[in-house]
């Protein structure tokens, strides 16, 4: 059975793939499903949901379409989650490979830096970085990557330390490959699988961190995010609770989808070796 079929055959994997599939499709198709700027005024303010067929989820305080925000917000969440996780894994892989391969002094120095990044709460670090660099989508991605690269770095280093003693690395050394070439061509690719499993968890955490930053008003003001929608709805929590509740459900669905798929993938891989 192929990996994908094993993944979908478990109930958790199927549910996760369904959730992620819907959200990914929404994110990709948002400009067509709801054309135009999602931040424009679309109708009367504070229209309750399920009253106007043109605005099924109602409108917020400024008369903006909640459904449009929800669709475009999926886009932001996924972009930030994937880009931040990719950047974190990239930085972590480079630092981890260099630390594991370069030997004592460099290793010691790099690992103290990793320690420093791990003892500062990631969210505080991201908060400080965004406050310095300003709230744009790029800086938010960078801030989240900065708060998340330490864990993959540690993992890659541990993998590299165990792989560098293998015979094929010795063989590469004997045929005269450059140490950097050995590190990044021979060792890193073999150290990656456990890191990719961690990457799923980083995606989920990145989506949650982005939402929290936007909720505090530190995200990109020109982009719709689920976090900023919740924050905006909070001002009218009593009169229009749906404004805060609806985007939150989107967040839970996206993060849960990532968790379910990563768990099912782990199970499918674990079973893969056995008959």
């Amino acid at each position: 059975m192929s990996f994908f079929r094993r993944l979908v055959s478990s109930p958790t994997g199927a549910l996760g793939m369904a959730l992620l599939g819907v959200i990914a499709a929404t994110a990709l198709l948002a400009p067509w499903l709801s054309p135009g700027d999602p931040l424009r005024i679309a109708g009367p303010a504070l229209l309750p949901p399920f009253t106007d067929p043109a605005l099924p989820f109602g409108t917020d305080r400024l008369g903006r379409d909640v459904l449009a925000g929800l669709l475009h917000g999926a886009r932001t969440s996924l972009i930030v989650g994937l880009a931040a996780a990719a950047a974190a894994v990239l930085i972590g892989s480079i630092v981890g490979t260099v630390a594991g391969f370069a030997g004592r002094l460099v290793d010691e120095a790099l690992m103290r830096v990793v320690d420093a990044f791990q003892i500062v709460p990631g969210f505080l670090l991201a908060l400080a970085f965004v406050s310095v660099a300003g709230g744009s989508l790029g800086t938010v991605i960078l801030a989240i990557a900065l708060s998340a690269w330490a864990q993959p770095a540690r993992l890659v280093r541990a993998e590299v330390l165990s792989i560098r003693e293998r015979d094929y690395v010795a063989a590469a050394r004997v045929i005269g490959m450059h140490p950097l070439e050995i590190a990044f061509k021979e060792i890193l690719p073999n150290a990656l699988p456990p890191v990719l499993a961690l990457a799923a968890v980083i995606v989920a955490a990145a989506i949650l961190t982005e939402a929290a930053l936007s909720f505090l008003g530190l995200g990109d003001p020109n982009v719709v995010t689920w976090g900023s929608m919740i924050s905006e709805g909070r001002n009218v929590l009593r009169a229009a609770p749906f404004l805060s509740v609806i985007p939150g459900i989107g967040l839970v669905a996206a993060v849960l989808g990532v968790y379910l798929v990563s768990e099912a993938a782990g199970e499918a891989l674990g079973r893969g070796g056995r008959p």
Binding site: V113, A116, V120, P121, L124, V132, G248, V252, V255, Y259
Partner: protein, 329 residues
């Protein structure tokens, strides 16, 4: 006891370079920001001329070079002087000392809730791995873990404060209530109930899952088979043998989640308007208060180190193998 002392000494020594990196990195990061505290002050004061700005900069030492300010800051740190908060016009250390107890109370209660309830439910799930009960609890925990803390807080407010009117919406205690002693404690507890739940429920899922998977692992070990062969009841095997052995990894998670919870408290304190340490971080960002922000980041790093040290000490007590080699070396 000697083992513990050696552990503490070793950790303290290894913490110093790491904390130094934190200080330098944070300092440089905040230096890169456009504008400084004087700009922010002038903005809030409604403007001022260049001479006033230069005077203020000289007064706060902002006109000196980067390196000399960094060295000045680090030497002051040696005297436990964290500098002067421009936004609050008070010493940073005093501000942090004033705000920290509230957050420690919040985090302590949330940890107790998540550890207690999470490990208990983890035992329920892990007592029969693969059963329906286990599957349901595991999926439930995963869902809980996917919920953003601030949103959970808002939903709890909607349910228990707006609809049911059981609990207060925000704050740490009723303002000018004149309550003392027990009445005041009850008042604070009522205010803290929802924030603690919002912060704790998410980590409850973490403890549940770690407990459950540790137990699933332990069921396969020989000593469990031996306990079964002796004819012990299932109840006794679950509680006295499997769950007890699974507590050790749970203690590790206790240390690992402290940094996450400290970060989470920033958002939760903002949702519930609790004047704590996390809220202070947000206020420092809003006020462009670099000395305060460095102080906050440094304090949280020290806090995380202390929590992890405490966890290691507990670990050394629970498992005599840990730290034995460190003590010898």
């Amino acid at each position: 006891m000697r083992r513990a002392l050696t552990l503490v000494r070793r950790r303290a020594i290894s913490a110093i370079p790491v904390l130094l990196i934190v200080v330098v990195a944070t300092f440089l990061m905040l230096e890169a920001a456009p504008g400084d505290a004087v700009d922010a002050y002038l903005l809030s004061a409604g403007g001022g001329d260049a001479a006033l700005a230069a005077g203020l900069r000289a007064q706060y030492g902002l006109d000196q070079s980067l390196l000399s300010r960094l060295i000045l800051y680090i030497t002051a740190l040696g005297r436990l002087d964290l500098g002067w908060s421009v936004a609050f016009e008070r010493p940073v250390l005093a501000l942090i000392a004033e705000r920290l107890p509230t957050t420690l109370m919040l985090m302590g209660s949330a940890t107790a809730l998540s550890f207690g309830l999470g490990s208990l439910l983890g035992v329920v799930a892990g007592s029969r791995p693969g059963s329906f009960r286990d599957r349901a609890l595991s999926i439930g925990a995963l869902t809980l873990y996917a919920i953003p803390g601030f949103w959970l807080g808002l939903v709890l407010v909607l349910a228990f404060s707006v609809s049911l009117r059981w609990l207060p919406i925000a704050g740490i205690e009723t303002i000018a209530s004149g309550k003392h002693g027990l009445a005041r404690a009850v008042d604070i507890a009522r205010h803290l109930a929802l924030p603690v739940a919002a912060l704790g429920f998410i980590y409850l899922a973490l403890f549940l899952r770690v407990m459950r998977s540790a137990m699933a692992e332990i069921w396969r070990q020989d000593f469990v088979l031996a306990a079964r062969a002796k004819g012990l009841t299932r109840h006794r095997i679950v509680w006295r043998h499997v769950a007890r052995a699974a507590l050790l990894p749970l203690v590790t998670v206790l240390g690992l989640q402290s940094a996450g919870m400290l970060g989470g408290s920033v958002v939760i304190e903002s949702v519930f308007a609790i004047p704590g340490f996390g809220r202070l971080a947000q206020e420092a960002v809003a006020g462009r208060d670099a000395p305060l922000l460095i102080g906050i980041i440094l304090t949280s790093a020290v806090l995380v180190i202390l929590v992890n040290l405490a966890v290691d000490l507990v670990y050394a007590v629970l498992d005599p193998r840990i730290g034995a080699s460190e003590a010898r070396g």
